[in-house]
């Protein structure tokens, strides 16, 4: 473009000269015209002017030409128009028919036409020149470009060849594909092959074919750039990885052409694959071997590299991003941190390899054992630049080792234990050959016999009791001959010479052929059992003796057969001369006729219901004497599920007699006590008798007076006599009661209302109470159930309790003396009577001796009162108790079963 610029500039600079040339040419024309005119005297002005215009037009173009025309007209005006030689306005120029005017007009037209024509011709010439110039320049450029293109194509081809990249162009509309050489090479075909989409697809690896097809088709539709990688399956079977990139270019007709490159990336892919595989191998190897590698940058004091396994080892997830150095440190067992650092420092200092073991504590508390090996890498400056090393997880080895050690330990222990068991079991263990000679004895066996193993092998029979030796040997031979497990009992000598009974058991051990290889045996000390057996024999003998002495006979009665099998004593009690067994009839025959029904009934009931037996009855012996027996039997089922009674018959005659004597003595005592009490009550009784007597006397006197009146009042007299009778009856009643108490009589139980008993007793003590200024309160529950008892004895109890109460209140002066007698019944229909005083009470120390015989707090007492009371109450199957009151004093209470209860 430099050239056109220059031309322009030149043309610009020449424009002025064009104008100047126009002026000059006009001037020259004027001069020439002048000269010609002057010299030739011809008017040559028009032609010279025209020449000037032509020149101006030729040289300067249209503008200068017009200027020249104008100037020529001026010159005409100056020279030709009259007045000539003046530039002033000449008005008559056009008005008068001047000859000059047509000339002038003609000149003007001609000159203008000439000026236009010449200037047009000039421009055309100039244009032509310019385009020729341009053409030339274009040709030069063309040449240069062609050269450059040539170069570039060469480079491209070379580059394509070197980079394995081929280019291609694909006109989608026409389906025309252009390939570079390299592309042909990539696809493994020569230029003769016509590249088509089908060919490309067909050449693609079968696995990638679909993808390639799809990519291309989509590109054809979308008309967008695409970039894909696929494999080619070459005719020779090799596989190529290619990477195709294409850009869509649109031409003027809006048809799309893809221009792209295909690069053979097989090598890169292969290398990449190999690298990845090798990395995977390494990771896997590290993982499998629990080995991880690391690089420590010594100068920068940071990890240059840590394999993922390092993260795993420390319990981190490498995927989750970097873990700070401190976190790693924290995971190391505190005790191992310092040694680690020291080992590393030493390695750096000494430029030597190092090995260190340390532990890692994981967040879950588990411990990993790590063996770490490091190697220093010396840099260019001779200093250690890096430490390269591995961590090896030796936890499993370590645990395995520990487990192994433990297992060894266990085995050792269990061996020891077994040994210990064999040597400590309190059984003698031995082993013998098929010939019966022992070849092993455990420690207890050796200890017991005091033999050494050598001695035992030859002299073992001597360890047996001389009396048992022969029998033992015979039996042992028999067991061996039978080839079956067997046992025998014999006495074995202890090291100190004492013989003890042993149970020998032997068990054969056979090989696979069934031959006996060994006999294993144990010997158990059964001395105690033997002794127990002896004891049993002795105790059985003792039992017989004991039965005889205690007069207890034992028996077993079979219900089905009715047969009695009894001990010696059983038959002796029944008065039979030692038969082996007795029948039911024989037993029943001995029963006292009065009791026979009872016995039969009891046995019958027990046999029917299988209930236990417990009853007493009398036996009438053939000599007429009477025996009391107590029979107790327990029902059992024998092996045949037959009902049996196992029991004992006790001859309780002596006991019965003693009981009766005791009872008699007690009755006696009760009587004595009663009489004593009556003695104490004399004054009261006297008063009690005196009172009705006095009343009787008074009434009798009054009767006399009623009769002695002038008019005897017979009604009053009669009434008086009636009262006399009443009073006398009352006196005799008191005396009767006193006599009853004083009477020595056996217990006579009859249904009683306990309240009546209480009231009658009160009569006897009333005076005693009032003489002691004691007020009596009775709280007797109405309609109490009847009790079965002896009136006199129960009265004795009540009187006794009241007298005790009176006595207890004697020292009391500071409060009202009050005695309360209550009766009532409890929820079990038992009737109770209590006597409550407010006296001195019962101190804890005497409370438990209260009912003892001969215990008294009175100076004059015998100490029999409460003791007798208790035995009376107990004879009534009741209970007598004493308890201190809430306030002062004590309460004595006895409880008796009601008649209803008794009956049930």
């Amino acid at each position: 473009m430099a050239k056109p610029d220059l031309t322009q500039r030149l043309s610009n600079s020449s424009t002025i000269s064009h104008w100047a040339m126009a002026v000059l040419s006009v001037a020259v024309a004027v001069v020439v015209a002048e000269l010609i005119t002057r010299l030739l005297n011809a008017e040559a002005i028009a032609s010279s002017m025209l020449c000037a215009v032509i020149f101006a037009a030729w040289a300067g173009g249209r503008g200068p030409a017009l200027l020249a025309v104008t100037l020529a007209l001026l010159a005409f005006h100056y020279y030709l128009a009259p007045p000539t030689s003046s530039f002033a306005w000449k008005p008559d120029l056009f008005t008068a028919g001047i000859s000059e005017a047509p000339r002038l007009i003609l000149f003007s037209v001609v000159s203008l036409v000439v000026a236009f024509l010449i200037s047009a011709q000039r421009r055309a010439t100039q244009d032509l020149q310019r385009s020729s110039h341009h053409l030339h320049a274009a040709m030069v450029d063309q040449k240069r470009i062609e050269a450059a293109l040539l170069h570039s194509e060469m480079y491209l081809t070379e580059a394509q060849r070197l980079s394995g990249t081929g280019s291609f162009a694909w006109k989608v509309a026409s389906g025309e594909i252009t390939w570079s050489d390299q592309t042909y090479r990539v696809f493994g075909c020569d230029r003769a092959t016509k590249p088509t989409v089908e060919f490309i697809v067909q050449r693609a690896h079968p696995e990638d074919r679909a993808a390639v097809q799809e990519t291309i088709e989509r590109a054809a539709i979308d008309r967008n750039d695409y970039d894909h990688e696929f494999r080619l399956l070459m005719p020779d079977g090799s596989v190529k990885h290619v990477h195709a990139v294409a850009r869509a270019a649109r031409d003027y007709s809006d048809s799309v052409e893809f221009i792209g490159a295909v690069t053979d990336v097989t090598v890169a892919r292969e290398a990449d694959r190999k690298l990845r595989r090798s990395e995977a191998y390494l990771a896997e190897t590290q993982h499998l071997s629990h080995t991880s590698s690391w690089v420590w940058d010594v100068r920068r004091r940071k990890w240059a590299y840590r394999s993922p396994e390092v993260y795993h080892l420390f319990g981190f997830d490498p995927v989750k991003g970097p873990v700070p150095l401190q976190a790693f440190r924290d995971r190391i067992h505190p005790e191992d941190r310092r040694p680690n650092v020291e080992a590393a420092s030493r390695a750096i200092r000494q430029k030597a390899d190092f090995e260190v073991n340390f532990r890692i504590i994981l967040p879950d508390g588990s411990i990993r054992y790590v063996h770490s090996v490091g190697h220093p890498v010396v840099g260019d400056d001779g200093e250690v630049a890096e430490l390269v090393g591995t961590h090896i997880d030796i936890t499993e080895q370590r645990l395995a080792k520990e487990a192994l050690e433990k297992a060894f330990d266990e085995i050792k222990k269990s061996e020891d234990r077994l040994r210990l068991v064999i040597d400590t079991i309190p059984t003698l263990v031995w082993r013998a050959g098929p010939d019966g000679v022992p070849d092993f004895l455990n420690q207890p066996a050796l200890d017991y016999t005091g033999l050494s193993l050598d001695q035992a092998e030859t002299g073992w029979p001597r360890a047996f009791h001389p009396d048992d030796k022969k029998g033992m040997l015979v039996k042992w031979s028999a067991i061996r001959a039978s080839g079956r497990p067997g046992e025998l009992e014999a006495r074995l000598r202890r090291f100190d010479g004492e013989y003890r009974w042993f149970l020998f058991r032997a068990e054969p051990l056979r090989d696979e052929l069934g031959n006996i290889v060994k006999w294993y045996g144990s010997s158990t000390d059964i001395e105690d059992r033997k002794r127990a057996e002896e004891e049993l024999r002795r105790s059985e003998a003792k039992l017989v003796e004991a039965q005889r002495v205690s007069q207890t006979g034992s028996f077993v009665r079979n219900v089905a057969t009715g047969e009695y099998i009894g001990s010696k004593e059983f038959f002796r009690i029944l008065g039979y001369d030692q038969p082996r067994s007795a029948t039911f009839e024989m037993v029943l025959q001995r029963a006292h006729p009065e009791d026979r029904a009872l016995v039969e009934q009891a046995i019958d009931r027990a046999s029917r219901y299988g209930s236990d037996l417990d009853y007493e009855h009398r036996l009438l012996m053939p000599d007429g004497s009477v025996k009391y027996v107590h029979v107790v039997a327990h029902a059992v089922r024998d092996r045949a599920d037959q009902l049996e009674f196992i029991g004992a018959v006790v001859d309780v005659t002596a006991t019965k007699q003693a009981e009766e004597k005791l009872h008699k003595a007690q009755t006696e005592l009760a009587h004595v006590t009663r009489v004593t009490t009556l003695g104490e009550l004399t004054a009261s009784i006297a008063h009690e008798v005196n009172q009705p007597l006095a009343a009787a006397v008074a009434n009798a006197e009054a009767c006399l007076r009623w009769l002695d009146r002038e008019t005897p009042d017979l009604v009053a007299a009669r009434r008086s006599v009636e009262w006399v009778i009443n009073d006398s009856c009352r006196a005799s009643e008191v005396i009767r009661r006193v006599r009853a108490l004083a009477k020595k009589s056996d217990i006579e139980k009859m249904p009683l209302d306990v309240n009546d008993v209480v009231r009658e007793a009160i009569v006897l003590v009333q005076r005693e109470l009032s003489s002691q200024f004691i007020s009596l309160r009775t709280e007797l529950a109405p309609s109490l159930p009847m009790i079965l008892g002896d009136r006199v004895q129960l009265q004795q109890v009540i009187i006794n309790l009241v007298m005790n109460g009176i006595e207890a209140m004697q020292p009391i002066t500071d409060r009202q003396r009050e005695l309360v007698i209550r009766s009532g019944e409890d929820e079990t229909r038992r009737v109770h009577v209590s006597v409550t005083d407010c006296g001195v009470g019962i101190s804890a120390e005497i409370a438990n001796r209260l009912f003892n015989a001969f215990f008294t707090t009175k100076s004059s007492g015998m100490g029999m009162g409460l003791s007798i009371c208790r035995s009376i109450v107990e004879a009534h199957e009741g209970r007598l108790s004493a308890s201190p009151n809430e306030g002062p004093g004590a309460t004595f209470q006895f409880v008796l079963p009601s008649q209803l209860e008794e009956a049930s």
């Binding site: 004054a683 005196n690 009172q691 007597l693 009787a696 009434n699 009623w706 009042d713 009053a716 009032s770």
Partner: protein, 219 residues
């Protein structure tokens, strides 16, 4: 419990003496009232001392037949109680078997008699008669004193003063000197006193004054 006599007897007037019986034994109570009624005495019987006190006592000559042994308050204690309450009823004690200390105590307490059961009816009746007589006399005395008291109430303070001095045996002149009065004034007062006390003579006045226990207040 009050048993009114049923048989035909003279109607009981307000002035008929009453025998009170306190005895816890019913038959004894019955026998006693029978006995007293047979001689025409009015009888009121009680089971205990408190029963009797509840009823209140009529203002007639009466006596009390009391058993020594009673439930609650004993006979002797009842005697003491009555004395304390200023009730002067004569008491005859009965007992089943009396003892000496008991009878001494009873007699000291002012008992009329102490009878042991069974007693002779005559002894009891005699004792009751004596007791009723004693009570009647006491009642008469009491009545007189009460009468005198009424008269005495009518005296002016000056007259009472003079009566006290008279009863201590002072002459009119002495009294006048003592009280700083004229003798004549004293004489007039004495006249009034004699009239008000309805005394027939000086001796009578002095006796009455003595009965009332009037003495000179301060020597």
């Amino acid at each position: 419990v009050t048993e009114r006599p049923k048989p035909s007897r003279e109607p009981v007037g307000a002035h008929e003496p009453i025998v009170f019986i306190v005895e816890d034994d019913e038959s004894m109570r019955r026998a006693l009232s029978n006995l007293f009624q047979s001689v025409g005495l009015e009888v009121q019987v009680f089971g205990s001392a408190s029963e009797m006190l509840q009823g209140g006592l009529p203002d007639v000559a009466s006596c009390l037949v009391l058993d020594i042994r009673l439930p609650g308050l004993s006979g002797l204690d009842f005697q003491a109680e009555l004395a304390k309450a200023n009730i002067h009823i004569p008491i005859i004690f009965m007992t089943g078997h009396g003892d000496i200390p008991m009878s001494v105590r009873a007699m000291k307490g002012g008992a009329v008699d102490f009878l042991t059961k069974p007693f002779r009816d005559q002894d009891m009746l005699d004792a009751v008669t004596v007791a009723i007589e004693r009570d009647r006399k006491r009642r008469e005395t009491d009545k007189i004193v009460a009468n005198l008291q009424t008269h005495f109430e009518t005296l002016t303070p000056r007259e009472r003063e003079i009566l006290a001095l008279v009863s201590s045996g002072l002459m009119n002149k002495q009294i006048a000197a003592e009280l700083g009065l004229a003798e004549i004034t004293v004489k007039i007062h004495r006249g009034h006193i004699m009239k008000k006390m309805s005394a027939k003579s000086l001796a009578d006045l002095l006796r009455k004054a003595e009965t009332l226990g009037i003495r000179r207040a301060k020597p």
